[in-house]
């Protein structure tokens, strides 16, 4: 198993290098001139030049790239000019916020989409099958920010059931001590049920928004893979030996069907990390997505590069996790690796 992980990690290095190069070029291609922006509204040309030198933007592209890579090696992601804080500390505080939201969104999506997928597969082309497909496709047909705004309008503004869309926790609650950065886990560790509830309530609407948006790919994949497994020989044997339908569908069929579904989860998770940029804007969520967007719009290179690199590393880690999960579920992979 370890060799497999190292091999996969090794394979990911070239794509990480690719990401570093592409992000560097992409940020340098942004039209804005950070020096002018940060020299302030009434800066004279010399003041702008002075800031340009301070930021090291006057050097040649190659030299800048050289410095960037050297900094990177020391784990120095540079400082964000928009927020004035070192990018590393920003990422550390903000990444759990986005991860917690995206994971919960994914969880919501799985809880809804997987059973729907199984239901649709067990009765192909029946009314339920079509209903499931229509319902899940509806979810993905609306832009995610619009779904979010509607949910806020209905559940917060009109009905008042949901809490105010004011970020991760109610304004008057102090956030739990930051062991992992995940409010839900930290509040449990710290034994603060009230904080846990407050954080959970804040998470419901944004997680639902993300969940609805990712129903379709998961439901579609579950249905397709269940369809394939249900028509396989061993399910026929299971049925022929009169096992209870639950055992046949869940223990026998679904466990086998989970494999391709998990790969989709990996893809959906990285898709959601991109989509939650907009959800964070709607729900004032101090996540990594909105941070990167502000930086991108302000042509502030450091945070964009830091954000994209973190996402790339997370993407590789995610794929490794999926491979491990594959091994856990499918002995063939585990024993052959």
């Amino acid at each position: 198993m370890l060799t497999m992980i190292l091999k996969r990690a090794g394979m990911a290095i070239p794509s990480l290098i690719g990401v570093v190069i592409v992000t560097f070029l992409l940020t340098r291609a942004l039209p804005g001139d950070p020096a002018a922006y940060f020299a302030g509204p009434a800066a004279t040309p010399q003041a702008i030049e002075q800031v340009r030198v301070k930021l090291g933007l006057d050097k040649s592209l190659i030299a800048q790239f050289g410095n960037y890579v050297v900094d990177l090696a020391h784990g120095n992601f540079g400082t964000s000019l928009t927020t004035g804080q070192p990018v590393v500390s920003e990422l550390i505080t903000r990444l759990p916020a986005s991860a917690e939201l995206t994971l919960l969104g994914l969880l919501v999506s799985i809880i809804i989409a997987v059973p729907l997928g199984i239901l649709a597969a067990t009765k192909p082309n029946s009314l339920i099958d079509h209903a499931c497909r229509i319902a899940t496709t509806l979810g993905v047909s609306l832009p995610v920010f619009f779904t979010g705004l509607i949910l806020v309008y209905v559940f917060y503004y009109q009905l008042g059931w949901a809490p105010a869309p004011l970020g991760r926790i109610d304004v008057f609650f102090d956030p739990p001590p930051a062991y992992t950065g995940f409010y839900l886990i930290d509040s449990l560790i710290a034994g603060q049920p009230e904080t846990f509830m407050a954080a959970l309530k804040q998470l419901i609407l944004p997680a639902l928004t993300l969940g609805i948006f990712s129903l379709a790919p998961i439901a579609r994949m579950t249905r397709a893979s269940m369809l394939a497994v249900l028509s396989s020989d061993f399910v026929r044997t299971a049925r022929a030996s009169g096992l209870a339908s639950y055992t046949v569908i869940v223990t026998y069929a679904f466990r086998n069907a989970m494999l391709p579904v998990i790969t989709t989860l990996g893809m959906v998770f990285s898709f959601l990390l991109g989509a939650n940029v907009l959800v964070e804007k709607v729900f004032a969520w101090p996540g990594i997505g909105s941070y990167a967007v502000e930086a991108l719009l302000a042509s502030d290179f450091a945070p964009v590069q830091g954000f994209v690199l973190t996402m790339a590393v997370m993407y590789v880690a995610l794929n490794l996790l999926i491979d491990v999960l594959y091994g856990v579920i499918d002995p063939r992979v585990r024993l052959e690796a």
């Binding site: 804005g32 940060f38 003041a47 800031v51 928009t82 705004l149 105010a164 008057f172 709607v282 502030d300």
Partner: protein, 538 residues
């Protein structure tokens, strides 16, 4: 019952129930909620130090509330009863006494003033702070130069509690320039201890921490999401503020900000779209205060050096083709002072801002365009994406109206970061922009917007020796107190600005603030940010 009113009554109903201390608060939180002011806005500070590199406008608010200055302004009340800073009357803050000599001003510092970490405030701190302001460069240094405060040599420490500022030249703006945000007094011992050789002025430290003697200190700041201020209980600069804690949350979506206000979950917000302010004014739940931008104008600028707008007739044609009233109704919802359509015979006032005589007259515009002989015009109409809420609908209305006189424009949205770069290049043929000066004097506005000097705010690249003469004349007249010459020059520059019309003033925007009914103490300041020290809740 029109549909919109029905919705409004429903929201009024639900919101009312929310405001009366919903049951969810446990007693401890209810009490802390009562002493805490919750502000929601679109964006937050990127730096807590006014001298920081690239400190943005929200950063000004943090600095204003956390640092003291030598002097500040007394309050007067404006037309609709809102306390308004009196630009001519100063009140002591850290300086107990100020006496202005011929070529200098001397300040007597309070003996009891202490910084937030307990060290007493001395004249050395004042000297260090002002030296810092004039040498860090960028916006702070430029702002100090506006009041002819340019060299550290001008600042002299007489003794621990006496401080003198020497004038390089007589300038009426020097004393007011000491009351703006930039010349704040910083705890020099603390900051010097944090400085390094590359960062002699400790800008890195003051970026993330407040080191002043002001009424509040920042206890928590997560950039882009929230700033928390706690009251400094031994503040000596004025009466102890009533609000113990201020939480300032960034809520990017305007719709959500309005929902928070209507449901009573937020106390104050100041950057809602005009339409929301106009509507909230009519419903009884919230208090809306609208005050005109002091010395501020939204305008349509043209580059006067290159065709087609180097031709005066073309510029005048454009001025007649702008749908002013449509903009006032559909974009500003009446929340602005018109800067157009003054009656033909109205005399030029000695004041700024004041309306020009152009109004929407498409036929006249067509004639002017024809007589100018300009061939078909096709130019981009650019504006700052950061303020698209107002700029975009205006651009669409202007585009449509110009099309009717044969001028085609394509709308070009420029992201916030690049907006200043584009302005600096002075190449954009047609663009919308807003400018307002902190010092509310006509010659100050004209010096930055119409003077042929290399200022970024002369976005039209307008070079007119006659205009320069008027502006310089007015500045010297003001310094010598020669009101007759001053009035003549001010009228001259305003008249020339309206005849040459390098930029077309549209309206003087309002600063709108929405507050829950139980919030009082809002004051209007030249920097247009909130002053937490005067607020009270309950």
């Amino acid at each position: 019952m029109k549909r919109r009113d029905f919705l409004k009554s429903v929201t009024a109903l639900t919101a009312a129930s929310a405001v009366s201390a919903p049951a969810v608060w446990s007693p401890a939180k209810a009490q802390s909620r009562q002493e805490t002011l919750l502000i929601v806005s679109e964006s937050g500070p990127n730096n807590l130090d006014i001298h920081g590199v690239g400190t943005n406008v929200p950063g000004y608010e943090a600095s204003w509330n956390c640092y003291d200055r030598l002097i500040s302004h007394e309050m007067k009340t404006d037309a609709n009863g809102t306390p308004y800073y009196d630009k001519n009357k100063f009140k002591p803050e850290l300086a107990e006494d100020m006496n202005i000599g011929d070529m200098s001003v001397t300040f007597k510092l309070r003996k009891d003033a202490v910084f937030q970490d307990g060290t007493p405030v001395t004249a050395n701190d004042v000297k260090w702070s002002l030296d810092r302001a004039v040498t860090v460069g960028g916006f702070p240094t430029f702002q100090m130069s506006a009041g002819s405060l340019t060299k550290p040599e001008q600042f002299a420490v007489v003794d621990d509690h006496t401080f003198r500022v020497d004038f390089l030249k007589k300038d009426r703006l020097t004393v007011p320039d000491l009351a703006v945000i930039v010349p704040c007094v910083i705890n020099s011992q603390l900051v010097k201890s944090k400085a390094t050789e590359q960062d002699p002025w400790g800008l890195e430290y003051t970026k993330l921490n407040t080191a002043g003697s002001g009424a509040y200190k920042v206890t928590n700041w997560t950039a882009g999401s929230q700033v928390v201020f706690e009251r400094n209980d031994n503040w000596k600069g004025g009466p102890l503020p009533k609000v113990k804690r201020v939480i300032w949350r960034m809520v990017p979506d305007a719709g959500n900000r309005r929902a928070l206000l209507e449901r009573g979950d937020a106390d104050v917000s100041y950057d809602l779209p005009n339409k929301d302010f106009a509507e909230l004014k009519t419903n009884s739940k919230l208090a809306i205060v609208s005050t005109p931008y002091s010395n501020g104008i939204q305008y349509l600028g043209m580059n006067v050096q290159n065709p087609p707008f180097n031709d005066l007739k073309v510029r005048q044609a454009i001025a007649y083709a702008i749908p002013y009233q449509k903009i006032m109704d559909a974009v500003m919802y009446g929340l602005a002072k018109p800067m157009f359509g003054a009656p033909a015979d109205a005399p030029i006032e000695v004041a700024w801002p004041q309306p020009h005589k152009f109004n929407t007259d498409l036929d006249k515009a067509k004639q002017l365009l024809a007589s100018s002989g300009a061939s078909s015009i096709n130019v981009p109409l650019s504006f700052d994406l950061g303020f698209a809420g107002v700029n975009e609908p205006i651009a669409v209305l202007i585009q449509e109206s110009l099309a009717q006189i044969g001028v085609t424009t394509t709308i070009n949205k420029v992201p916030g970061a690049n907006w200043r770069t584009e302005l600096n290049k002075k190449t954009m043929p047609l663009f919308e922009n807003v400018f307002s000066g902190w010092l509310d004097y006509p010659e100050y506005f004209f010096y930055w917007c119409y003077h042929s000097g290399k200022s970024i705010f002369n976005t039209m690249d307008y070079q007119s020796p006659a205009m320069d003469a008027f502006i310089d004349g007015a500045r010297t007249a003001a310094a010598n107190g020669d009101t007759a010459a001053y009035d003549k020059d001010v009228k001259g520059m305003v008249d020339l600005a309206f005849t040459d019309i390098p930029r077309i003033p549209l309206y003087q925007p309002y600063v709108n603030v929405a507050m829950q009914k139980n919030i009082s103490g809002y004051e209007y300041w030249f920097h247009r940010r909130l002053d937490y020290r005067a607020f009270a809740k309950g």
